[in-house]
């Protein structure tokens, strides 16, 4: 319990530090949304100075930061100039879309990587292993951007999958079942891009972890007890190899919000990616900070989840008694 409290406290401190840094960098960057506005001759200078006062942009840095902190505590997370509404309400919708995409992709990638990794570890040096490692090596060298663009071209040429967006026009009138099917069709391409770009690394880690365990004495002993090869692999070797994989899993949980940004932009997925890009281009300060903070929150949460999983999975970490 004390452990959890300590970890939570650490996380809180980290978030605070990140927010402060993000805020400082944003403040140091030249120009802001209102400066851009000033370039527009149709907006009167008085309007702009009124907005400055309203948003507190004329106050010194610490005051602005504290006011922003207050708004975070109120659940607003600052105010978007471009959308003219609290950042939180924007982020919630976009983050939900991003999560839908990234969680589907992460789950699928792991479901594929585990059997492939175990399989190639068991056949180390034989053709299945070579095939898997050649395939993953090829995928590894293709940048995510190229992968996404390639898939996009495929979609446009073939017309099998929608080339962007989250739902078809007029999908609101569809039945629940059709709606889900429509969503799945829209998900396919971005999920495929994400899975293809993340899976080679996962396969390699699974293969390495399992291959290391396969040489250990207890598996040999288990074989001498007549335990079948299949059970040996899945129920003995894999759990023993789990520790690095659990850490990696926590890492991929942490990257849920930040790992899919490029794919989202390329495939016009209405997630955090396009929002962040747009906000950076228009100097929509609080939206940028909000995105950064939210990803950090996920990163911290993912690591915490990994620690808890490790704690649950490995009795040696749980063990607090004396060494025998």
């Amino acid at each position: 319990m004390r452990y959890l409290l300590r970890r939570a406290l650490h996380a809180l401190l980290l978030l605070f530090g990140v927010s402060l840094l993000a805020f400082m960098f944003a403040a140091m960057a030249p120009g802001n949304y209102l400066d851009e506005m000033r370039l527009n001759p149709q907006i009167a200078p008085e309007t702009i100075s009124a907005l400055r006062a309203q948003y507190g942009m004329d106050r010194p840095f610490p005051v602005r930061y504290l006011r922003w902190l207050g708004s975070v505590l109120r659940g607003e997370w600052g105010f978007s100039f471009a959308y003219n509404r609290p950042v939180a309400s924007l982020l919630v919708v976009r983050a939900r879309n991003t999560l839908l995409l990234a969680a589907t992709a992460t789950a699928l990638a792991w479901l594929l990587a585990l059997p492939l990794g175990v399989w190639s570890a068991e056949r180390a040096g034989h053709w299945p292993d070579r095939l898997v490692s050649a395939g993953s090596a090829a995928l590894l060298v293709i940048p995510e951007l190229v992968l996404a663009l390639g898939l996009l071209i495929l979609a446009v040429r073939s017309g099998w999958f929608p080339a962007g967006g989250l739902e078809s026009l007029g999908s609101g009138s569809l039945s629940a079942g059709r709606k889900i099917a429509d969503l799945a069709r829209h998900l396919t391409l971005p999920v495929a891009a994400l899975v293809l770009s993340s899976i080679p690394l996962l396969i390699r880690h699974v293969r390495a972890a399992v291959a290391e365990v396969l040489g250990s004495g207890f598996l040999w002993a288990a074989e001498a007890h007549g335990i079948s090869r299949r059970r040996l692999l899945w129920r003995h070797a894999l759990p023993a190899a789990a520790n690095p994989l659990i850490s990696l899993f926590g890492f991929s949980l942490g990257g849920l919000l930040s790992g899919s940004l490029i794919v989202e932009v390329v495939m016009s997925w209405p997630g955090l990616g396009p929002l962040l890009l747009e906000a950076i281009l228009t100097r929509d300060l609080y939206v940028v900070i909000g995105c950064v903070l939210l990803s950090t929150l996920f990163l911290v949460g993912g690591n915490l989840a990994a620690d808890l999983l490790l704690y649950w999975a490995d009795p040696r970490i749980r063990w607090e008694g004396p060494e025998p």
Binding site: R2, Y3, R6, Y311, I317, R318, E320, P322
Partner: protein, 269 residues
């Protein structure tokens, strides 16, 4: 005569840490250990696994800091010495472990391994080092032809010889053998035991022989100290301890040695 090594009231406690790094109670590995070791003598520290004998070795070798108590080497208290003096004193006590493979860098040749402590210490000029290395290797029964081999190319017994040569390079006064024979074949154990027995008078070396094998302890040591739960529960001349064990642990150790040691056959011729 002043003892070479004098240990008094040695206590070593480990704070057990939980996964959160918080303390989870205290483990007492050494609980007031007191003994002396005279120059050129051998003391065997015998006990079951977990009795604290290896912790004792680490503390005396200066690799663990005792929680309380004093270790006097040639009359000087190790705890009261400054960093420089300690560095000068440390080579006087050398440790040889059970698993020589783990303590020898697998990429070094035998010659480099034996020369390394000489280099670090810097007392032997560079041009005298090859000769010294040859001498040391000869001393432990390794031929000069073996000097360019790596540890992996030696047998278990030869690796242990190499570890001893490396330990002797610094001209120690005390050699600690921490289960140094336990992993070896019987015939190799005999070779290494003989090596130690031969070197000892020649180098006026004191020996701390840490083992669970009472039989070898009785043969090699002048005195035996029996440890249990971090304490010395019985100590005396090898003959006395072995012939009339007093403490329960000693009795079970002697029984184990006797039961499995039915008269060593001298048959044949």
């Amino acid at each position: 005569m002043e003892p070479l090594l004098s240990v008094a009231g040695l206590v070593k406690q480990y704070v057990r840490t939980g996964p959160a790094g918080g303390s989870r109670g205290i483990l007492t590995a050494l609980d007031g250990v007191t003994f002396t070791l005279a120059a050129g003598r051998t003391l065997a520290v015998v006990g079951r696994s977990g009795s604290g004998k290896s912790t004792l070795a680490l503390c005396i070798a200066g690799l663990e800091r005792p929680t309380a108590g004093s270790i006097l080497v040639e009359g000087r208290d190790m705890a009261s010495l400054g960093a420089t003096e300690l560095r000068a004193l440390r080579p006087r006590i050398q440790l040889v472990f059970q698993d020589p493979a783990a303590s020898l860098n697998p990429r070094f040749t035998a010659e480099q391994l034996v020369a390394e402590p000489l280099q670090v210490q810097g007392r032997v000029p560079a041009r005298e080092r090859p000769g010294r290395v040859r001498l040391l290797m000869e001393c432990v029964g390794l031929s000069a032809a073996m000097r360019s081999r790596t540890p992996g190319e030696f047998s278990g017994g030869q690796r242990q010889r190499l570890a001893i040569a490396r330990a002797l390079a610094l001209e120690p006064r005390v050699l600690i053998l921490d289960e140094a024979l336990s992993a070896l074949d019987c015939s190799v154990q005999a070779q290494i035991a003989n090596l130690v027995a031969e070197l000892q008078p020649a180098l006026r070396l004191s020996c701390l022989f840490i083992t669970h094998d009472l039989r070898m302890a009785g043969w090699l040591a002048d005195e035996i100290a029996v440890m249990e739960r971090g304490r010395i529960v019985e100590m005396g001349s090898s003959e006395a301890v072995v012939e009339s064990p007093q403490h329960g642990v000693t009795q079970s150790l002697v029984a184990a040695a006797r039961a499995r040691g039915a008269a060593p056959p001298q048959a044949g011729r």
